[in-house]
Symmetry: C2
Subunit: 259 residues, 2 copies
């Protein structure tokens, strides 16, 4: 019986698309794979070229994220659909995999609730009305299921449709977790530009090979926190394991998280 | 019985996406519609912002077109998938139509033969080896058919996969014609930024309301020639009529071409 897995390819600098495509193609010949990708480095690159200023916002709890006004959302769509998704579909087709690229807007694949984004500015907390980020609430499983199978891979750009039919930027790690739950995946594999979870963030040799969700939450810092949140969403809903590792290098160098 | 039609929305300046989406949504509630779009104005805009020089080439027969090296192909993908396709899918979803956006690479929807592009430079004809344009030879009808139906519209970006699995830029009008033939469409509607075919190119009042393919070929100049070539491909393969008109304005102002 084929395994089912969701593979998330990070959009940060240092994530090698060819390495991701090699890995996806190797497993997708026999297993059932969905690829979800990010687009953050390309968003930065395009925003700079197009002269769209990028702003970081800090939430009241101290979490720092990208301010996504409508112009930035449109840049994100260019990066996610026009660069990352396009390249992954082409690279998978070149490796003999029949990839289908979609954003979550298509066929209402991902429907999301718009976030109430609060930002701290000059010591005051304000609600940002024109922020286009959301949290996925529903996955169109019948549509996705049509595209999954040995040798076939849906490639999903993390854009969703809001309940008001506006396009929203949604977190790629959490989209991957939601899809893993929806398709009843055995595993969620998060490919990033670091080898996994470190016990000591300054010591690459302190990689944690296997851990529990509880321990992972105490070890995660910065952007890794979002990945562990995604891991929690997947594991609590029945996905057996979440693996975090680099897209390149030894596949045995990784962190496996189990509930 | 629902009608079947392919609607092609031009990518030139002056084609109003909201007007296109209004028109598509109005007919797609009862009829079976495929939307194909261009991306030329967005390609120019992004190429300029990203500093990718654009070159026009003249064929030995005098036809002028965009030089599509790999960098320009990638800009075209950003424009077609990341801007035009994204906006059309969002606008159709906002109008209650369940749009699914795809490029021709996805699911090998469009397979094309790479063109031997010959260009005249300083009086000499040369073969451009790194030109990524093609002519569609096959449409994946089973995939497309899954996405067509009342209230559902596939939105197709004119990129295809070559027989060597490279991405190619393909002409949107001719893609629309090939898809019209593949789905056995009743009509092909080409929405552009001019009201139709003019008997005298300098006299807007000389619009030809109805004509034959033969007459249309004698009247077409410049970019209109490609549309008439697409019309020929559609009509010769059994599509009943090809309509060329502006996306905005009175729908009765148009040119209807029949075999």
């Amino acid at each position: 019986m084929p395994l089912r897995a969701v593979i998330k390819a990070g959009g940060s600098k240092g994530v090698d698309r060819d390495a991701v495509a090699d890995l996806v193609a190797a497993v997708a010949r026999q297993d059932e794979i969905v690829l979800v990708h990010g687009a953050s480095a390309e968003t930065d690159r395009i925003a700079e070229a197009m002269g769209v200023p990028q702003e970081q916002i800090a939430s009241p709890s101290g979490h720092v994220s990208r301010r996504t006004d409508r112009r930035t959302l449109e840049v994100f769509a260019m990066a996610a659909l026009g660069v990352e998704n396009f390249h992954y579909v082409e690279k998978l087709q070149q490796r003999g995999i029949d990839a289908v690229g979609l954003s979550g807007l298509s066929g209402r694949l991902l429907v999301a609730k718009k976030k109430d984004v609060r930002a701290v500015k000059n010591g005051k907390t304000i609600l940002l009305r024109d922020d286009y980020t959301g949290t996925v609430e529903a996955v169109n499983l019948p549509l996705l299921a049509q595209l999954i199978g040995p040798g076939r891979v849906p490639v999903i750009a993390p854009l969703a449709l809001s309940t008001d039919n506006e396009a929203l930027n949604v977190d790629g790690d959490r989209v991957a977790a939601r899809i893993a739950v929806a398709i009843d995946a055995d595993a969620l594999l998060i490919l990033t530009n670091v080898p996994g979870l470190l016990r000591d963030i300054d010591d690459p040799s302190s990689l944690v090979a296997e851990t529990t969700l509880e321990e992972a939450e105490t070890l995660a810092h910065g952007r890794m926190k979002k990945k562990i949140l995604a891991a929690r969403e997947a594991l609590e809903a029945g996905v057996e394991e979440v693996v975090i590792r680099s897209a390149t290098g030894d596949p045995a160098v990784r962190t496996v998280i189990r509930a």
